[in-house]
Subunit: 440 residues, 2 copies
């Protein structure tokens, strides 16, 4: 679709996607990118993508003049070299970056407004020379996906890559990851890497790295600092602690959850405090606990079972859904119950049937915060009697990841699954939930 002759005359050869200043007859001006005429648009209306992301349609009658400011450079899409490890010398121990994609590895395409994975680790490293003061950094592009496309199989790949890095002798691993499902992957790595010579730090950004307001630098700086210097060797998430700059919170992978669609401080530790904070300006790591897994020998069990379902209960939920999972041969089911861990009475039968068929059923709570307790109410007692496994103070996502790990790495025997689900393996279960751990 082309613009009208009048618009074309006004543009006088200025091409689509050029950056322009549009002077209106009323004396005001607008700046942005010339967009192609939309299919259903009025040919007399010039479409301009403004800096704030909005599109403005301006009728030719109102326009005085259009001046070119610059040319739009479409972001170059590089094909990252997967699997090769590249090194950039810095001061400090060897830290390996494992890139999986996500906003932190992305550019915004200002034309479509879309964000897509495109940076290479080299770009990132060049953008942030400060990282060289923290470590000697090695880089490997493992995959380039948004994290909504994560799967248990990909958790295994990331875990294996992290274990490979430790086998190669690094002191810490930083996993660059989309934020959407970062907490699932972080929990997965906590179970897959039982013990390690250093921490695995997941890091991401809520705004792509090429945007001035991006949180990616501070997060990445903190992650690198933790990977190289922390005394603990657990799977953690390093993300902004609040909306201003300066503090990055370090959350246990098994405890953390993305709790906001857009804020930089979207990640919150559930039923626990962040185990550490990084003051980025001072380059300081402050511990919040002295109870952690220290740096040790590497032990990896990286498999995950992908036949595990996470089902949220809701009023009136039909029992068919559970029957369906049993009939489909699922290996395990995590239910997000209500309150202390309840479901409607009509689900007792299909849950019992699942358990009788050898499928472990774990009950967690959709309140997210607090501890599941099946001893308080009749429904809880009934659920215990038919053999469900309470998730204790694990939030639903961690219970789901743990069940997937348990089923793949131990036997599928119900008693053994129950025993492992109720045993703290990576600080995912506290013996007692401290009341002040509720931070909502």
């Amino acid at each position: 679709m082309a613009y009208s002759e009048r618009v074309k005359a006004l543009l006088g050869g200025i091409g689509e996607f050029s950056r322009v200043r549009v002077r209106l007859k009323d004396g005001s001006t607008l700046e942005g990118l010339i967009l192609p005429r939309p299919e259903v648009g009025d040919p007399d209306v010039l479409l301009v993508k403004l800096e704030n992301g909005y599109n403005a349609g301006i009728h030719v009658d109102k326009i005085q003049a259009v001046e070119v400011l610059g040319k739009y450079e479409p972001p170059k899409v590089e094909v990252p070299s997967y699997g090769t490890v590249m090194t950039v010398k810095g001061t400090g121990g060897r830290v390996r970056f494992v890139a999986t994609g996500g906003t932190i590895m992305s550019r915004v395409d200002y034309v479509t407004g879309a964000v897509y994975p495109s940076f290479s680790l080299e770009d990132l490293y060049l953008m942030y020379p400060e990282l060289r003061g923290l470590a000697s950094i090695e880089m490997v592009n493992l995959m380039s996906i948004f994290s909504e496309d994560m799967t248990p199989t990909r958790w295994s790949m990331i875990a294996e890559e992290a274990c490979r890095a430790f086998n190669d002798g690094v002191v810490g691993v930083v996993v660059l990851h989309g934020t959407d499902t970062m907490h699932y992957t972080a929990a997965a790595l906590a179970f897959a890497i039982k013990s390690a010579p250093g921490p695995v730090v997941l890091v991401g950004a809520q705004r792509s790295s090429d945007r001035p307001s991006s949180d990616s630098f501070e997060n990445l700086y903190a992650a690198t600092l933790v990977a190289s210097q922390a005394k603990f060797a657990e799977s953690v998430v390093a993300m902004h602690d609040n909306t201003s700059d300066g503090v990055v919170a370090v959350h246990r992978g098994v405890r953390v959850r993305k709790m906001h669609t857009s804020r930089r401080d979207a990640f919150i530790s559930v039923n626990h405090e962040p185990i550490a904070k990084v003051l980025t300006k001072e380059g300081k790591l402050i511990m919040n606990t002295s109870d952690y897994k220290g740096r040790g020998r590497l032990e990896c069990s990286t498999r995950f079972d992908d036949k595990v379902a996470l089902i949220k209960y809701y009023p009136g939920m039909s029992s068919e859904l559970l029957d369906y999972l049993v009939d489909k041969g699922y290996h395990g089911i995590v239910i997000e119950g209500t309150g202390f861990g309840h479901v409607g009475e009509w689900l007792l039968k299909p849950i019992a049937r699942a358990i009788e068929s050898g499928i472990p059923v774990v009950i967690s709570s959709q309140t997210i915060f607090g501890r599941v307790n099946l001893n308080v109410y009749r429904r809880g007692v009934e659920l215990l009697r038919i053999g469900v496994i309470p998730s204790e103070d694990m939030h639903p996502e961690t219970a789901f990841v743990k069940l997937s790990w348990v089923l793949a790495n131990s036997s599928r025997d119900l008693n053994e699954v129950r025993r492992l689900m109720l045993t703290p393996l990576a600080y995912e279960i506290n013996q007692r939930t401290r009341p002040m751990d509720y931070v909502v």
Copy 2:
């Protein structure tokens, strides 16, 4: 199963469930209730239910003597009279209590430890004479269930009962309800009662009303005060604002969510502040907003569609599940996506198929807080293109309840469903989410 002769001799006729003091040979003592011997228990081990709720097993060899302290009185289970309206004169306008069950209407059975619905409203009223100073209270027992057993059909029953009360001329309605799914019912009432002569206030307790530490009195007091005196006429939840006494928060039904398994202040407004607070000691209602529905004419549309599914997305979730819902003839699906509202790529096809089959698919976010935005990332754009409906800043439960209401009360035409889902009907959608509304 009976205890051994040695234990029996020690008990000397003291019956099961008696309250006893057990003197041990080491000089210490224990108090509690004698429990029957468990099926698999050692007949020489006496089982005592301690005050703290735990059971202690004490071998007969260690016991010096057992003394009776009192007899256990099993709680009497009254059959409440359903449907009849009873009145107790007080000072102030007419407020009707509609009882549905839940902890607030329950006693603890100290033997089994279980809590079960048993109070009648009369009991409650006698326990709390302070309520008489607030209103002339009418009472109706509608049902006696724990709220994990709520269903869309029961939402309709409650909505009809509330509308009946307003038709009878009351100035406000208080719904006594279990806390587990109170937020779903509160949202349901907000849609079902478009306009009313007074507020509908849902209230519950995290601890049963016969326990000294119960939160039920303060919550009920605040609810009654709101029902009789508030200027707004919306569906709200009145529950403790913090862990101490004195302040009860009043949350919009469409905004509130149970966010903790056990704390009294488990209810939190999502993407909004509570619209009011009640200072219970001062008997004062403090408004947080001047933007509300005032008392007006009664308008009720009380139906809900029970063929709506709420599905939480998780890494690797199989597409079969969505296909199954389509094949089963569901009328609508709400998906809890990740981040801004995403799902794995492999779900685009089954979602498109659902929409092509005339089933509206709403995307919300499992982050709970924040606004769904399908314009930021490629996946969001792809989802929009196949026709999903974003839940805007409704959290998943409210989106689910709203879809159930829309499908039952308007046409099932996709365009009409979309239009209504995107139109604020009861303050469930803010045009813009204010950043400080994130209270986690």
